[in-house]
C-alpha cells in the first residue's frame, strides 16, 4: 500500500449528523401532513352533516334557512372555465414567445419582470383594478364578464410562466434533432417542444384552475355577491356569486339563520373539489408521461 495516501474513513460524527438530520426532516414533514389532515378533517367533519343532495341541488336563500348552493357551484365552474378560456391562449402564446422567439436581451428581462410582478400582485389589487375598469368604466357592473376578465388577469402570468419554464426544459438535443431534419421553428415548437412540455403546462393549468376556483377577493368586487334566480344562467351580464364568495358573504352578512351550516357545507364542497382537481393532475400527468416518454 502506498504510504503517502492516508486511509480514508468516514468519521463517526458525520454518520450521527446524517441520521439526526434525516430524523429532523422526517419530523417536519410529518408535522406538516398532520396539520393538513387535522385542517381538512375539521372542515369535512363540520360540513358532512350539511352535505346532502338537497344542499347541492337547491337554489340559495337570502333570508330563510334551508337554502342550497346550486347556482354557486355553477357560477364557480362557469367562471373558472371562462377565465381559463381567456387566459390559456394568451398565456400559452406569451410563454411560447418568451421561450422561443424573444431574444436574450434587456427587453425580455423587463418583460419577465413585468410578468413576475403581475403574478405576485395581491388579488385584492387586481380586484379593485377590475372593479374600476370593468365594473365602473366599462359600465358592465357586477357581472360574469367583469369577473371572468379580472380572474383571467390572475391566471395569465402563471400560465405564461409555466409555459415558458416547461418549454425551456425541453432538452436541446431534441430541438436539434428536429431542426436537423429540416423542421422550421414553428414545426419544432408544435411537434417536439409543446408535446414534451405538455405535462408541465397541464399541471400548471390545473393548479391555476384550483386557484381561480378558490379566489374570493377578485370576485366579490367584480362578479358580485348575488346569484341569478335562473338556472343555469349562461348570460355574461348577470352577477355570478361563486362558492368562495358565498362562503364569505353568508358568514359576514349574518341575515341567514343557518349561515354557519351553509358555510360549513360550502367549505366542505370546495375542499372536495380541490382534492379531486389535484388527483386529476396526477392522473393526467401519469397518462401523458406513459404516452410520450
Amino acid at each position: 500500500m502506498n504510504a503517502a495516501v492516508p486511509v480514508f474513513r468516514r468519521s463517526r460524527t458525520s454518520k450521527v449528523v446524517d441520521r439526526l438530520m434525516r430524523g429532523v426532516l422526517w419530523a417536519i414533514a410529518l408535522a406538516f401532513v398532520a396539520v393538513l389532515i387535522l385542517f381538512v378533517g375539521a372542515i369535512l367533519k363540520q360540513g358532512w352533516p350539511v352535505l346532502n343532495l338537497g344542499f347541492l341541488t337547491k337554489m340559495s336563500e337570502t333570508l330563510d334557512a334551508g337554502g342550497g348552493i346550486k347556482p354557486q357551484i355553477f357560477n364557480s365552474i362557469y367562471l373558472v372555465v371562462l377565465s381559463l378560456g381567456i387566459s390559456l391562449p394568451v398565456g400559452l402564446g406569451a410563454g411560447i414567445y418568451m421561450a422561443a422567439y424573444a431574444g436574450q436581451g434587456r427587453a425580455l428581462r423587463f418583460l419577465r419582470l413585468c410578468i413576475e410582478t403581475l403574478a405576485a400582485t395581491p388579488s385584492i389589487v387586481l380586484a379593485l383594478f377590475g372593479m374600476i375598469v370593468f365594473v365602473q368604466a366599462m359600465g358592465w357592473s357586477f357581472s360574469i364578464r367583469s369577473g371572468a376578465l379580472t380572474l383571467a388577469l390572475l391566471n395569465i402570468p402563471v400560465i405564461t410562466r409555466v409555459t415558458e419554464v416547461s418549454l425551456l426544459a425541453v432538452p436541446r438535443e431534441l430541438k436539434e434533432a428536429s431542426y436537423g431534419l429540416g423542421a422550421t421553428k414553428l414545426q419544432t415548437i408544435l411537434k417536439v417542444a409543446l408535446p414534451y412540455a405538455a405535462t408541465g403546462i397541464l399541471t400548471g393549468l390545473v393548479l391555476t384552475a384550483g386557484r381561480a376556483f378558490g379566489e374570493s377577493a377578485i370576485l366579490v368586487f367584480t362578479a358580485g355577491t348575488n346569484a341569478s334566480a335562473q338556472f343555469p344562467d349562461f348570460r355574461l351580464t348577470v352577477p355570478g356569486e361563486t362558492l368562495s364568495v358565498h362562503l364569505w358573504y353568508v358568514t359576514s352578512d349574518g341575515t341567514l339563520p343557518d349561515a354557519r351550516e351553509i358555510a360549513a357545507g360550502t367549505a366542505a364542497v370546495m375542499i372536495l373539489v380541490l382534492l379531486t382537481l389535484n388527483l386529476l393532475v396526477r392522473l393526467v400527468d401519469r397518462a401523458i408521461r406513459r404516452r410520450t416518454r
Binding site: G180, L181, G182, Q187, P195
Partner: protein, 260 residues
C-alpha cells in the same frame, strides 16, 4: 494546405475555402480549406476542443439554432454557397442530415420517429409513409429488430438501437450528405461495430463526414482523414496514408498517441 494527389473519380460534394468561424469574440476555426468527395467517408480527428464538431455543424448550419455565430469564407454544396447562395436553410438541412453524439430519439414511437421528417415535408399518405419508414429502417439495419414493435416508444430501445433509429430518421428525408458527430461515443463495442458496418454500406449512395475520437474507427471506416489542431487543418489525405506515412510530424505524434 495538402490535398490528396491520387486520381479521385468521385465528384466534389462539399468544398470549403478559407473558412473561419467565430463565436462572439472567440475564434474557433480559421483558415480552413478542404474538399469532400461524394460517396466517400471523410473522418475528422483531433484532440478535444480543436473545433471538429463545430466544423461539422457548419455544413447544416445547426449551430445557428443555439447562438449568434460568425462564419466567413466559402462553404459550397454542389458548387452553391450554403451561407450566401440563396439556399433555404430548411432545404439545406433536409439535404444534409445529422447524427448526434448522444442518441436523441423523440419521445414518440419508433414509427413516428422515422416518419417525423417526411411528415414535415407534407407526406401524409399512410401507405407512402409506411414505405418510407420501412425503407429507412432497412437501410439503418434496424428493420428486422423492430418491425413487430413499430408502435412502441423509442425510449425502450438500447443505446445502439436508438442511434441506428436516429440514422434511419435522418435517412427518411433522403439526404445527400450525412454528418456524424462522434456517433459511437456512447455505445458499446458491439453496437459500435454495427454502426461502422452501416457507414460502409451507406457510403454507396451518400457523402459521409464523421467526427471521431477513436483513431481505429477513423482507420476502419474512412477513405479520407483530416487532422485538426487548435481550429486549423493540419493535414488531410487518404486515410491509408495518414495512418502510415503522414507528411506532418504533429499528425504522426497524434495518431501514435504521443499527444492529444
Amino acid at each position: 494546405m495538402l490535398i490528396p494527389t491520387i486520381p479521385e473519380t468521385k465528384p466534389i460534394k462539399l468544398s470549403v475555402r478559407d473558412m473561419a468561424f467565430s463565436y462572439g469574440q472567440k475564434k474557433i476555426l480559421d483558415g480552413l480549406s478542404m474538399d469532400i468527395h461524394a460517396e466517400r467517408v471523410t473522418a475528422i480527428i483531433g484532440p478535444s476542443g480543436c473545433g471538429k464538431s463545430t466544423f461539422l455543424k457548419c455544413f447544416n448550419r445547426i449551430h445557428e439554432v443555439a447562438a449568434d455565430v460568425d462564419v466567413s469564407g466559402d462553404i459550397q454544396i454542389d458548387g452553391v454557397d450554403i451561407y450566401r447562395g440563396g439556399i433555404d436553410v430548411v432545404d439545406l438541412r433536409r439535404r444534409v442530415g445529422m447524427v448526434f453524439q448522444k442518441p436523441n430519439p423523440f419521445p414518440k414511437s419508433i414509427y413516428e420517429n422515422v416518419a417525423f421528417g417526411p411528415r414535415l415535408f407534407g407526406v401524409q399518405d399512410r401507405a407512402t409513409l409506411d414505405g418510407i419508414v420501412e425503407d429507412a429502417l432497412r437501410k439503418a439495419a434496424l428493420w428486422d429488430e423492430v418491425k413487430d414493435r413499430l408502435k412502441e416508444s423509442a425510449s425502450g430501445m438500447s443505446g445502439g438501437q436508438q442511434q441506428r433509429l436516429c440514422i434511419a430518421r435522418a435517412l427518411a428525408v433522403n439526404p445527400e450528405v450525412l454528418l456524424m458527430d462522434e456517433p459511437c461515443s456512447a455505445l458499446d463495442p458491439i453496437a459500435t461495430s454495427k454502426i461502422e458496418d452501416l457507414i460502409t454500406e451507406l457510403k454507396e449512395s451518400l457523402t459521409i463526414v464523421i467526427v471521431t475520437h477513436n483513431m481505429q474507427q477513423a482507420a476502419r471506416v474512412s477513405d479520407y482523414t483530416a487532422f485538426f489542431w487548435l481550429g486549423r487543418l493540419v493535414e488531410m489525405d487518404l486515410t491509408e496514408r495518414i495512418f502510415t506515412t503522414p507528411k506532418v510530424q504533429m499528425t504522426e505524434d497524434y495518431i501514435t498517441g504521443r499527444f492529444g
